[in-house]
Amino acid sequence: MSHQPFETWLLSGESLNPQQEQALDAHLQTCKECQKLSIALYQVSVVLETSPEPTPQPGFSQRWHKRLSVHRHQQQQRRMWFMTLGLFSIAGFILSALLILNHQAINWVYELSQFIANFSLAAARVIQLWSILQSITKTLPILIPMMILLGVGLFSATTVLIITWFRSLIRLYKPLEEGVSVR
């Protein structure tokens, strides 16, 4: 027995005109298979449509706010890692490029002799500076406290500058507060 077009009518879920409905009813009286299909479809639709709407546990939006802040924090950390990694990669790339470019131009013997010469010159300068300092301390002992004061002042200024620099870095990487968009 042919089940068409009755099977298609049943499964399409579209509304039928009176003639089609009559023809379908007549077919269902004689065809057991289509009858079974019709009953099954009806029962499935009843089961689906009568089921209660699932609802989330109370406090859904509070949990969402928490999740949003965690998500932002992770995003911030990821961004920081990418930035650091990027900077290192760029620096590494530049150094490698310079090394590759200069590899053949470098005269290692010349560079080594230059290094030794510069080192000896620097050592000689340090010795010279030391002797000047000795002569100053011998001749002008009054300058020592002033030099100490100047040194302490310079050291304090440098420390303050370093602290300020670190504080701005910490503030830069600090997670955003709620209400501040990341976009």
Binding site: T8, L11, S12, G13, K36, L37, A40, L41, Q43, V44, S45, V47, L48, E49, S51, P52, E53, P54, T55, P56, Q57, F60, S61, R63, W64, H65, R67, L68, H71, E178, G179, V180, S181, R183
Partner: protein, 198 residues
């Protein structure tokens, strides 16, 4: 669109979490319900619904105010659930979760009724498990959200004829699963007050 809703969207676009929170409050039920129907358990549904709202907030700039906000949100949720089902490559629900959820709490006021409800849920999940992820989304939107074929097409980025053929195929699968369940006597006709143990 509701005036308040338009205002919340505008404020959320300017970075107000509180305004988007109001939208979460308003749409938590339909989004959670869709996720639950697609994923089959409350734990995954909660996670998927939360994630859908995060994605919606992040992509709020892409939202077209001419479209329905609910359809846009459900579109995000259904695509997320489809991806999730595909990733786990398992259309069936974890039996552990279902077994745990099927045991009625002794402190529930009406454990018999609660058990029947859970049995009903299990029946629905058995029916849904045999459907392909996109078909599952189409059925959920059609039966529980009463979406038209045009709206389903909009939400799932399909053509209307594709939606029609997917719903046709889904009904065929649902009817077959139902008949199989009947043959396997999974759909018992328990009398009221009868213990679920018998």
């Amino acid at each position: 669109m509701h005036e308040k809703e338009a205002l919340w969207i505008k404020q959320a676009l300017n970075g107000s979490d509180k305004a988007f929170g109001f939208l979460v409050d308003s749409y938590q039920k339909p989004v959670y319900s869709l996720c639950y129907r697609m994923l089959g358990n409350s734990r995954d549904a909660e996670d998927a619904a939360q994630e859908s709202f995060i994605r919606a907030y992040q992509n709020l700039k892409k939202y077209d105010p001419k479209r329905s906000f609910a359809t846009w949100l459900l579109s995000i949720a259904s695509h997320y659930c489809i991806d999730r089902i595909r990733k786990r490559q398992l259309v069936t629900v974890s039996t552990d979760v279902l077994q745990t959820e099927l045991i009625p709490d002794r402190n529930t006021p009406n454990p018999e009724r609660r058990f029947q409800e859970q049995e009903h849920e299990l029946m629905i999940q058995n029916l849904m498990n045999d459907l392909k992820p996109i078909d599952r989304a189409a059925v959920a939107l059609r039966y529980w959200h009463e979406y038209s074929e045009v709206e389903i097409a909009e939400a799932l980025n399909l053509t209307v004829s594709a939606v029609k053929s997917r719903l046709y195929r889904a009904r065929q699968t649902l009817a077959k699963t139902w008949m199989d369940m009947e043959n396997a006597h999974l759909i018992g006709e328990r009398r009221p007050h009868e213990s679920p143990a018998f």
